[in-house]
Amino acid sequence: MIEAQGLTKRYGRTVAVNDLSFTVQPGKVTGFLGPNGAGKSTTMRMILGLDRPSAGTVRIDGRRYAELKQPLRQVGALLEAKWVHPNRSARSHLRWMAASNRLPAKRVDEVLEIVGLTGVAGKRAGGFSLGMAQRLGIATALLGDPGVLLFDEPVNGLDPEGILWIRRFMHRLADEGRTVFVSSHLLSEMALTAQELIVIGRGRLIAQTSTRAFIDMASESAVRVRGPEMERLHGVLTGQGLAVRDVPAGDDGPAALLVPNTSTEQIGELVGRVGLVLHELAAQRGSLEQAFIQLTGGEVEYHAGALAGAGNGSPSAGTPAAPAQLTGPPARGVQTAAADATRGGDAR
């Protein structure tokens, strides 16, 4: 179990992590989600005693990392695959790590076997592909057969096969009852990997909740309407108590209105009753990633309030969780990732 209490880190004038409190439970994969620069790596370095917190504490099974005797036996970490001397062989790297915590030398061969690097154990680590380096990092983390494992963006830059391998691997580790804490900036990835989520933006906690609840919250649907008489249309909709948002003309098409928490049927009938002409009436399911970026990067304080409620177990559809997030043109990469998430999600 990992417990952070008011964890804060300042680098000069940047506040990388701001009063962050959370707990990571054993037996499941807990995702640590936030856009780039949110403070995930900094938090992980503080958990591991590499960076000194400006304020607050973080404990692993009740103790600070620096208090652990032979810490590799209790905590394994992969923060960056490249923490290896390029001219040292994979085996030599593992050998010195093992020796430092009095782990038997045969454990080196075991972990090499687990990650499938036995064949290249004698080769210089500098010549490894990213996927191989990542596996070596995982082997390092597993050396002491620890009960707590931390992985910082483990799938970054991996091919689909490598991503799948790591995802399954994490599930296995959690199924064995270990605490698995894995960071990512991709909600789509976390949707497949993590059962619990700790979401941060700009160094602050946005939500600690189950993955399912967070996704329901983040991907609310809305209806897009457009017609020749926009002002009347606007009046009719607001007259029915609906929240309406103007969408300026952009990549999505001409200027339109966006109405969250409703259906095309409802709006169609409403508008038909007053005899208005429509040029467009479409359901929009927000891109998960887009929503997430808005949640974590935008008005963090405001959303923190909205979602804290969700975290307490009421992911009610009525919460106005930022319809504005659905308006912007989704970036292409993000779109693909979201599509991937949907597919994978169905398969599960």
Binding site: R45, L50, A66, P71, W83, V84, H85, S92, S100, T140
Partner: protein
């Protein structure tokens, strides 16, 4: 003990320490043998054990570079973080590194010293090269101790600067420029020189002997005798290392 093993594995599982050791030895012994071979018969009476060590500074600089790199490459490739993950109190790991690196430098220092002296006796058997006095023993075997302490100093600079090029440049500028230029300052220069670490360190080897045209420089009026000089130098080296330790413990890795 475990941590000494760890640092030994680390040091010897990359190639650059091996290269440094080979270069330090070859450079020093090579230069001495060239010098011995070209010494004119008329100069032979002046070819003393002290003179066979005229080149020890070359090997010393190379071994200092090795010691610096032993820590700065850990920062460069972030293996220092792996090290601190394994030993979160940090100090024991860094002390172990210093012990391993310093012992190695000491051994290499003795090899270069004895090698230089040995090859000189082989090339010039008629020169007065037998070791009789304590002074002469110090001239040769003292070199290893200087290597050992200098490695601690170089490691400390690496620990403070955390960056290979920067640390090596600082060492070279200090060693080759500042220690030679500072004494040139009017009035206080001479006085200053008596307290410069490397000048005092050298004094351990050459104290009490007359300056020869070919041997290492001898500075008159040093505040300490040979062993006092060694202690002073050791205090400077270890002191700097302790500063490095404190910084390493306090700073983010």
């Amino acid at each position: 003990m475990t941590l000494l093993t760890v640092e030994r594995i680390k040091l010897f599982s990359t190639r650059s320490p091996w290269w440094c050791m080979i270069i330090a030895t070859a450079l020093t012994v090579g230069l001495t043998s060239v010098f011995a071979a070209t010494t004119k018969p008329s100069d032979l009476p002046e070819f003393t054990p002290s003179v066979t060590q005229f080149a020890f500074n070359f090997g010393l600089v190379v071994m200092m570079v090795m010691a610096t790199l032993a820590v700065t490459t850990e920062y460069r490739f972030s293996t220092i973080r792996s090290t601190f993950l394994a030993v979160p109190t940090r100090t024991p790991a860094l002390v172990a590194k210093a012990v391993v690196v310093a012992l190695l430098a000491g051994i290499v220092g003795e090899i270069t010293a004895v090698g230089s002296w040995g090859i000189a006796t082989l090339i010039q058997p008629d020169a007065p090269l037998t070791l009789d006095t304590a002074q002469e023993y110090r001239n040769v075997f003292g070199v290893g101790l200087l290597y050992l302490l200098s490695a601690v100093l170089a490691l400390a600079v690496g620990l403070i600067v955390r960056q290979s090029a920067g640390a090596v440049v600082i060492e070279l500028i200090y060693l080759l420029l500042l220690e030679n230029l500072l004494p040139a300052i009017p009035r206080i220069g001479d006085h200053l020189q008596h307290w410069l670490p490397f000048a005092v360190g050298n004094n351990f080897i050459v104290a009490g002997q007359p300056e020869t045209s070919d041997g290492p420089p001898v500075i008159e009026g040093m505040p300490f005798g040979p062993w006092g000089s060694l202690v002073y130098y050791a205090v400077v080296c270890v002191g700097l290392f302790v500063i490095g330790l404190i910084l390493a413990k306090r700073r983010d890795a």
